[in-house]
Symmetry: C2
Subunit: 127 residues, 2 copies
DNA sequence: CTAAACGCTCACATCAATGTCAAGGGCAAG
DNA sequence: CTTGCCCTTGACATTGATGTGAGCGTTTAG
């Protein structure tokens, strides 16, 4: 399939797909007269890329991980493993931070709700 | 205290503190001849801002939440509550996404590790 | 064959938070 | 008063993923 279809199937814009490729993500298989040509397997690979990009993995690091997903290779595998572990640590840290933020938010929401309730009850309580 | 000290206490750069204020975050209390002047309570408020900014809350939305933390007010409280709930939803969604990404990553790590182990065992198994 | 629809590259724009630099004002100690 | 440090505003730079548009080739349907 060509880029338009892959874009439709993955939800990634054509622009993004070209960008991924430009960043070294092996999402391409250039063909006939310069047009990008993809197979069904690329759909899943792009999905994975989207997941990790959304998770804050830089395309730079992703480029060191993705090749490994497709074509195992001793040298790269070791490097990839290192990056993956780093990213895992970063991810865990981020998740914890977000959870903490959510707790703080819950507290604020609670305070706010209580405040609003007290104000609204003021009139009734005046009866 | 002035901006330098607040910066030192919170870890936020002077630039950031001015930026927060510019974005409508009530992190200021302009004084004598134009210099920003803060109280101890500002330290905690900035800390909260940092937490939420790091959690991906836009300064725009933060501006609708923060005033409420400091000075309860019916009108703003309702608006803030709406924003807070939206942000909470977004946060939860993000956390789930990151957790999913981490699982995907764990899988990749496992595959990679297995691959490496198999390759390394190849020589010993050849004996 | 022609037009529509799609693809290619290049380049500039965007957003958000922050860095950085410039030109100047405020204030304390010598 | 001067030196030094902190402050002010304003403007331009950066980073990363993506949008957008121009100018030009390709493929496909009529």
């Amino acid at each position: 399939m060509r880029i338009g279809e892959l874009s439709a199937r993955t939800g990634a814009s054509r622009r993004s797909l070209r960008y991924y490729e430009q960043q070294g993500l092996p999402v391409s298989a250039r063909s006939p007269r310069g047009q990008r040509c993809y197979g069904d397997d690329h759909v899943q690979r792009v999905a994975l890329i989207q997941i990790f990009l959304a998770a804050g993995v830089s395309s730079r690091n992703l480029a060191r991980m993705v090749p490994c997903m497709t074509e195992p290779n001793m040298d790269r595998a070791r490097q990839a493993l290192t990056v993956m572990n780093q990213e895992r640590t970063r991810l865990s840290f981020t998740i914890d931070s977000l959870a903490a933020a959510r707790e703080a938010l819950d507290h604020l929401i609670d305070v706010n709700r209580t405040f609003l309730a007290s104000v609204e009850d003021d009139v009734p309580s005046d009866r």
